[in-house]
């Protein structure tokens, strides 16, 4: 068990140090996220759509696309000088490498979220009504889902030397069932829609805030486990 944590720490520290020295991923993510938010804010003003409805959706759009950017880098960085083979030849379980990379991606996206959430709240004039814990929970669950699927498929796309835009369609189509309750939960948090939805409004198991959260937990558990188990098959040479 100690060996497991040590190997996770080794890969994690390596990637964080690379990022700290190169300062490549986080600035790109933040600029992309801010551009998305800015464009949507302008559009909502021009079309006079209530900012409270667009704001929470803008958050998820920014997370998804910036998250994809980070995940693409996660394995692209290993392509230089074929570092990936060195990593895979290390005497550790490949699942551990997946978990370490997942952790790096989650931390990167968390840092991004800490920066972008206030930006969105200020520019859209959103009020959280003191539900910070709920917000943190929804963000973390969404984060884990995006990164779990993204990490597996970024490794796949890199190894197959395919083009990067492929990653975005793969990840988006897989994540779609989670993004609906995630967006609804976010809308509930900011008070754009009531906490209890009725009838057809109870879209995709997200009839109320609790069921939306429960659904996201289930999604994360299933997909992160599946990705972790299948990672070994993807990188096997």
């Amino acid at each position: 068990m100690r060996y497991f944590w040590l190997s996770i720490k080794a890969v994690f520290v390596k990637d964080i140090v690379v990022e700290l020295r190169a300062r490549q991923v986080i600035p790109t993510m933040v600029v992309l996220g801010m551009l998305i938010v800015w464009i949507l804010r302008t559009a909502s003003e021009a079309a006079s759509i209530s900012a409270i409805v667009i704001g929470p959706a803008a958050l998820w759009i920014a997370f998804l696309f910036s998250g994809l950017l980070a995940q693409e880098r996660a394995f692209a960085v290993e392509q230089q000088n074929d570092c990936i083979y060195g990593l895979l030849l290390a005497p550790v379980d490949v699942g551990t490498i997946f978990l370490a990379k997942l952790l790096v991606n989650v931390v990167m996206l968390c840092i991004f979220e800490i920066i972008i959430v206030p930006v969105v709240m200020i520019s859209f004039g959103l009020d959280i009504h003191g539900r910070w814990a709920g917000l943190a929970g929804v963000l973390l669950l969404g984060n884990l889902g995006i990164c779990g699927v993204g990490t597996l498929f970024s490794a796949m796309v890199q190894l197959a030397r395919s083009f990067g835009s492929l990653l975005s369609i793969i990840v988006l189509v897989i994540l779609m069932p989670m993004m609906i309750p995630a967006t609804l939960a976010m809308l509930m948090l900011f008070g754009a829609i009531p906490d209890e939805l009725s009838g057809v409004g109870g879209l995709m198991f997200a009839g109320n805030f609790k069921s939306a959260i429960g659904y996201m937990i289930a999604f994360d558990a299933v997909f992160v486990t599946a990705c972790w188990l299948l990672f070994g098959l993807v990188v096997k040479e």
Binding site: A160, S162, V173, V200, M204
Partner: protein, 208 residues
């Protein structure tokens, strides 16, 4: 032979449906194509899952060919499902599409097939790598499928899950339609697998 029996069954189903088992209003008769289409679209995904697992376990290219064939066939049935569904929805509720759970998940099914086929055609590199990547995507994508089923049964929706077919002739027409489409799907998968096998053989032994 199988193809012939599928066509006979399809014709029989259509005849029974329109002559004795007609549902009023007329537009609702599209259900005789819609329900078998949806069942086959889901069955093809199960075949895709089994073939993907089979490939990852044994690494035999035959499994990969079955997976490729079932994805293409499944895509056809998912298209049938969504198109007939849209026509039905237009006739019944006056809109082509509405974001209800059932319609979202059927659309998702179609998109999963499309992305699978794009993935298959856009991966360069050795064949085994392409097959393995597609198999992994097939398995992960299948995890989204139970939601299509669950949403049909347990979520309140405009889409009625158990449409009642009152008379025996209506039920007969429906079951004939389901049977015909299932045979059709099986024949298509078999034919496509055969084509892929021959292609594989040709690539191995190029003609002089």
């Amino acid at each position: 032979m199988l193809l012939l029996s599928a066509f006979v069954l399809l014709l029989g189903s259509t005849w029974t449906a329109l002559m004795i088992g007609q549902i009023t209003p007329v537009a609702r008769n599209i259900l005789y194509a819609h329900i078998p289409g949806s069942i086959c679209a889901l069955l093809c995904f199960i075949v895709l899952l089994v073939a993907s697992i089979g490939y990852l376990r044994t690494a035999r290219p035959q499994w990969d060919m079955v997976a490729a064939a079932s994805a293409e066939v499944g895509m056809i049935f998912a298209t049938v499902l969504n198109l007939t569904g849209m026509i039905f929805s237009r006739a019944e509720w006056g809109v082509w599409w509405t974001p209800s759970p059932r319609l979202i998940t059927s659309g998702l099914l179609w998109f999963l097939y499309v992305v699978y086929l794009i993935l298959r055609s856009s991966i360069r590199g050795p064949r085994y790598l392409q097959a393995r990547v597609c198999a992994v995507f097939g398995i992960i994508a299948f995890l989204d499928v139970p939601m299509v089923l669950i949403s049909a049964r347990f979520v309140p929706d405009v889409h009625r899950p158990n449409f009642s077919f009152e008379s025996d002739s209506q039920r007969l027409a429906l079951f004939m339609g389901i049977g015909a489409m299932m045979i059709l799907a099986a024949v298509f998968i078999w034919l496509k697998t055969d084509i892929l096998k021959n292609q594989h053989k040709l690539e191995k032994e190029p003609a002089c």
